[in-house]
């Protein structure tokens, strides 16, 4: 029983990471109806930036905040410069641009920071008050960080006028434009938020999986599975989906199929969700009139 509970809690810790990657995906999907294939590589690159800052002697939380800010700006600029011209282009064009971004960020990570596997520090000391029977200090710490991110996002969308404008732009772009909201800029802010959330996820997962340019490939896939399971237009669904996927992955890995087929589990989850329950657990059922 103890072992089982341990697996569940470890799964929840992983699930936080998947949930936050899913949250970043949902940020962009809500506004643009595009799935950002480059999300993982962008997060990896942000984590490399944080690593470089820490190597320069910055304190951890200073580097953390700087990285989040830089990632936000980078996301904003990427949307303005690269994605805006193809905003209304067909899906294949967008997928190609996303794959292009994925390749560029992956190559940049390898080029600037080379391909050796690096260890990334955790801000949470091993033997701190955060450590409990089922959670290591880092697991608990990253869980708390993720919850803080989620609360901050909730507050942002619920209580600020910018958040309200973004919701309006996502829900009804035409009407939002009529009341004077700059819809295209709202998409850019969404991109910035997604990049920032991705950066947080990257910095939280790097101490566990170690830092290298392909760190996020598998995690991104689980992020997709979480986002789709939770309903790809629902931020809270994404986080819940992440937790479910994390626990499921750990339990299946420990008791059923072993760790060798982790990515296959993600494949089955994605295809299963999309075919059997396209709206996910909490998503809106989309009806198109033709």
């Amino acid at each position: 029983m103890d072992g089982f509970l341990h697996q569940v809690f470890a799964g929840l810790a992983n699930g936080c990471i998947y949930g936050s990657v899913a949250l970043a995906l949902v940020m962009i999907f809500q506004a643009t109806h595009h799935l950002n294939f480059a999300q993982g590589e962008m997060a990896t690159f942000s984590t490399f930036v944080a690593w470089a800052l820490i190597q320069q002697g910055w304190p951890y939380w200073g580097a953390f905040c700087a990285t989040v800010a830089v990632s936000f700006l980078a996301g904003l600029v990427i949307q303005r410069v690269i994605l805006r011209p193809v905003e209304r282009a067909p899906v294949l064009t967008n997928v190609n641009v996303f794959i292009g971004l994925l390749l560029i960020f992956n190559a940049l990570s390898g080029w600037l920071f080379d391909h050796t596997v690096k260890s990334f520090p955790s801000p949470f000391a091993q033997e701190s008050f955060l450590k409990s029977r089922f959670f290591s200090a880092h697991e608990m710490g990253s869980f708390l960080v993720m919850m803080a991110v989620l609360l901050a996002l909730y507050a942002f969308f619920r209580f600020t006028s910018l958040g309200l404008a973004m919701r309006a732009a996502a829900q009804n772009p035409d009407s939002a434009r009529l009341v004077g909201i700059r819809v295209s800029w709202m998409l850019a802010v969404g991109w910035g938020l997604a990049a920032a959330i991705g950066a947080v996820a990257g910095m939280m997962v790097a101490p566990v999986v170690f830092l290298d340019p392909n760190m996020m490939a598998g995690i991104l896939l689980y992020g997709f599975a979480s986002a789709l399971l939770g309903g790809v237009d629902n931020p809270f669904g994404a986080v819940i989906g992440g937790l479910i996927v994390g626990v499921l992955e750990n339990l299946l890995g420990a008791y059923v199929i072993g760790t060798e087929l982790k990515l296959t589990v993600a494949l089955v989850l994605i295809v299963g969700t999309l075919t059997l329950m396209p709206a996910g657990l909490f998503g809106k059922r989309l009806v198109t009139r033709v």
Binding site: P90, N94, N96, I99, A217
Partner: protein
């Protein structure tokens, strides 16, 4: 759009055209004797990639179903050939139809859930497939066949006869060159016939307007899943050939990068273009060789930049450019008509 292209060329079959074809045939036959062994090996890979890209193009370019996972079908074809030769002792040429048939079934099965997925969702599902395949190939329950992480080492097929020409021996690589070339001709002939008739028009109609296509009596589920199967079969045959050319298969040669490179090759060569596959194949074979000298990461960076730049400036790829330039030189009136229709293709998907 491709229909307009055939009308133009069909009226223009001058003796010069046939002379050009003859020159090309002679050049292709002499080419492997003009270069060193390693170059022949690279040419073989170009031909293999051309078939794989053609397969992807049938699905994505002509039918509008986005696949980021064609490396998976390539891997299945390669492993099928390798296992049949290594464990069952089959001759290399007999493995191609079996690999093709197997991939057709596999592709058909993948295409079945794909019916319910459009656009980005299909891209995610196929990307997941591409990421999962190397892991699946390493799985220990099938290790007895697949050889696990080590993979399978094969022998290159020996040429049935041997001679020397221009000072170069007719060895295994050169024999494979001609064998691959024959398969390429066959596959491109099949694809040409498939795509320039009723079926091809149905596929393009489904891509451009599925509802209208359905209203015209095209059976969408059947066509879409069969297209998936045919596309996978082409790529599977390419995989089987690739296993012979490299004489080695291992899970790590079929990572997600392979799928992405095939996509890059397709976009560079030209979406919904049959001859474009050759340009794409040459691109993904030779550009990394050159770019590697700058940095290990340079090929991926160049691919990424090119994908984005092409989407902005030249969405129809090399073949689109060639076609536009050719028509502009030939007849200004046709040139005015064609860019309009080729733009229509990229706008409405």
């Amino acid at each position: 759009m491709s229909g307009a292209g055939t009308v133009v060329t069909a009226g223009r079959r001058s003796p010069l055209f046939w002379l050009g074809i003859a020159a090309a045939v002679v050049l292709l036959c002499v080419l492997p004797f003009l270069v060193k062994n390693y170059r022949v090996f690279q040419f073989n890979l170009v031909l293999v990639y051309a078939i794989a890209i053609l397969g992807l193009n049938i699905l994505t370019g002509f039918n509008g179903q986005i696949s980021l996972g064609h490396g998976a079908f390539y891997a299945v074809g390669a492993y099928a050939a390798a296992i049949l030769m290594d464990r069952a002792g089959m001759p290399y040429w007999a493995t191609l139809p079996i690999a093709g048939a197997l991939c057709f079934c596999f592709g058909f099965l993948v295409g079945f859930p794909a019916l319910r997925l459009g656009g980005h969702y299909l891209a995610v599902a196929t990307l997941a497939l591409a990421l999962a395949v190397p892991q699946l190939l390493k799985y220990k329950l099938i290790e007895a066949w697949t050889g696990g992480v080590q993979g399978i080492v094969l022998n290159k097929p020996e040429p049935p006869f041997t001679f020397r020409f221009l000072g170069q021996p007719f060895n295994a690589d050169r024999w494979l060159y001609f064998f691959t070339l024959a398969v390429v001709v066959l596959m491109f002939w099949l694809a040409w016939n498939l795509l320039h008739g009723r079926v091809g028009r149905a596929l393009i109609a489904i891509r451009d307007h599925p509802i209208a296509a359905g209203a015209m009596g095209i059976n969408l589920p059947v066509f879409k899943s069969l297209t998936f199967g045919v596309s996978a079969a082409f790529t599977g045959v390419a995989g089987a050939l690739g296993a012979n050319v490299i004489a080695f298969v291992s899970p790590d040669s079929f990572t997600v990068n392979l799928s992405i490179f095939l996509l890059v090759g397709m976009v560079v060569g030209g979406l919904a273009s049959i001859p474009g596959a050759f340009f794409g194949a040459m691109f993904i074979q030779f550009v990394p060789n050159i770019a590697d000298e700058i940095s290990k990461s340079a090929p991926a960076a160049i691919y990424g930049l090119l994908l984005i730049v092409l989407m902005y400036l030249m969405p129809t790829g090399v073949m689109g450019l060639v076609r536009t330039l050719w028509l502009r030189r030939q007849e200004p009136a046709v040139a005015a008509a064609v860019p309009a229709s080729s733009n229509a293709m990229t706008k409405e998907t």
